[in-house]
């Protein structure tokens, strides 16, 4: 049997990405369905991630599935020394889909190789988090009407930010122009700049973050600058307020601009931005529900045509 697991979308073709986005669009029209009645979705969170877990569990519930799982690895047998393989084999006896979050990189890939139950990667260490990338793409697609030829500004921690790296790679099919705005300590790693060159992705680097820098942005993707990422705390004190988006910076930006953030936000977006119609981060999180409904159906082999037919019921 073909393994339909979703481990990464880095290798997804343009057609495959658009197919999943079209499916997410159907779920936005009608979130509540019976497509997964009688199915059981296991959510195995070997490290806590409340936001991602709630989103997946809501998606499963809205599709009619039942949910089992754990949210705290301290109460599971992995804390007694059980291997990941054994945990996956055990849960495979019960569930039709396994959604897993793990602190180790490559855990989802390995899990998908030891079981025939489809695995959905809900984040494996610093490696991949494909459902986050899907919801980012869906948010961009929905607000801009296209993924083609956009100016995308990535702001904040571009060194460790897994979401910005995945987004960068997934956008390679769509001729974007990226602007990287980050302090020196957190700038985009060389390997991703090399990736851009290899795939003809245009990019411009900035260290300043002002209303002038962002005047041509279609998408402003904010991330959190975390204190613990700095080796030099003086440097942190110097830059911590530079990468904060304030409402007055948005005055001369493009009318179609939307501000995204993977959440949780701390202080990198001032609260006065929330009421600006360009702020999109809370709707972005809601889009995660539709993207995850599409992912859960896709790994079980439910096609776009079937979802469309179901929309009309």
């Amino acid at each position: 049997m073909e393994n339909r697991s979703l481990v990464t979308i880095a290798e997804h073709s343009k057609e495959r990405i658009m197919y999943l986005l079209e499916m997410a669009k159907e779920f936005e029209k009608k979130p509540n369905r019976h497509l997964l009645d009688q199915k059981i979705v296991a959510t195995l969170f070997f490290e806590p991630s409340t936001r991602t877990r709630l989103s997946f569990e809501t998606a499963a519930n809205r599709l009619g599935a039942k949910v089992i799982g754990f949210t705290d690895p301290k109460v599971t047998s992995s804390s007694k020394g059980e291997t990941l393989k054994d945990t996956i084999m055990m849960v495979s006896n019960y569930a039709d889909i396994i959604v897993m979050r793990h602190y180790l990189e490559g855990a989802a890939r390995y899990a998908s190789e030891v079981t025939r139950v489809p695995i959905v990667n809900a984040g494996d260490g610093a490696n991949q988090h494909p459902s986050q990338t899907m919801l980012d793409l869906y948010s961009i697609y929905k607000t801009q009407g296209t993924l083609e030829n956009l100016n995308i500004y990535l702001v904040g921690d571009l060194k460790y930010g897994r979401t910005v790296h995945s987004l960068l790679m997934a956008m390679r099919h769509f001729n974007p122009t990226f602007h990287f705005i980050a302090p020196d300590e957190l700038k985009m790693p060389e390997e991703y700049k090399l990736y851009c060159k290899q795939h003809n992705i245009k990019y411009i680097e900035h260290t300043d973050f002002t209303s002038e820098t962002i005047a041509d942005a279609d998408i402003l993707y904010m991330t959190r600058v975390q204190r613990e990422r700095f080796t030099d705390l003086m440097e942190y004190e110097r830059v911590k307020d530079v990468y904060i988006l304030r409402n007055k910076m948005l005055e001369h930006t493009r009318p179609n601009l939307k501000i995204l953030h993977p959440l949780p936000r701390v202080n990198e977006i001032a609260y006065d931005v929330d009421d600006n119609e360009k702020a999109y981060y809370f709707q972005q999180a809601q889009n995660g529900l539709y993207a995850r409904e599409a992912i859960l159906c896709d790994v079980l082999g439910i096609t776009l045509d079937e979802v469309k037919a179901d929309t009309l019921k």
């Binding site: 990941l84 393989k85 490559g106 890939r109 260490g125």
Partner: protein, 152 residues
């Protein structure tokens, strides 16, 4: 008569001569080929003079012929090794090691947060650049250079 130099140790009737092994890699080759489990005659010599390497090691194994898979395991540590296949005291075939497309169970991933370093399982690397010797872990997707690898 160019074989004369190789005959610093006893000639072989049938088997395999592994030549041009860098001296410091000799015992790694022994363990990668599991020679400790072979019951036929084995001659292991080290620190012989070599024009190419300065010093080299040689291994002669009687009545043993390796599969390409076994041979190619050696590519990560000593890409210039030569194998001479001997039948009836004659070299009937010379083989070189070829870097395979994939390496399973040979190299350790140098990312401590990789699942392969935390779970009893076989490592798996894709060789993405054979010339530069760049390996990519199938699981954590981190790349590493051949020069920095640790064997399992």
């Amino acid at each position: 008569m160019s074989d004369k130099k190789e005959l610093q140790v006893a000639a072989l009737e049938n088997g395999t001569v592994i030549d041009h092994i860098p001296s410091d890699k000799l015992f790694t080759v022994v363990s990668l080929l599991n020679l400790q489990k072979i019951n036929t005659n084995i001659t292991i010599g080290n620190n012989f003079e070599s024009k190419k390497l300065g010093k080299k090691g040689i291994i002669k194994i009687a009545d043993k012929f390796f599969t390409p898979d076994e041979i190619n395991r050696l590519s990560v540590i000593a890409p210039n090794i030569r194998l001479n296949i001997i039948r009836n005291y004659e070299v009937v075939e010379k083989k070189q090691v070829v870097m395979p497309d994939e390496l399973k169970g040979i190299v350790k991933c140098n990312n401590p947060k990789c699942i392969t370093n935390n779970e009893p399982m076989t490592t798996w690397f894709h060789v993405i650049d054979k010339e530069k010797g760049v390996l990519k872990c199938h699981y954590c997707e981190k790349e590493q250079q051949k020069d920095n690898i640790k064997l399992i």
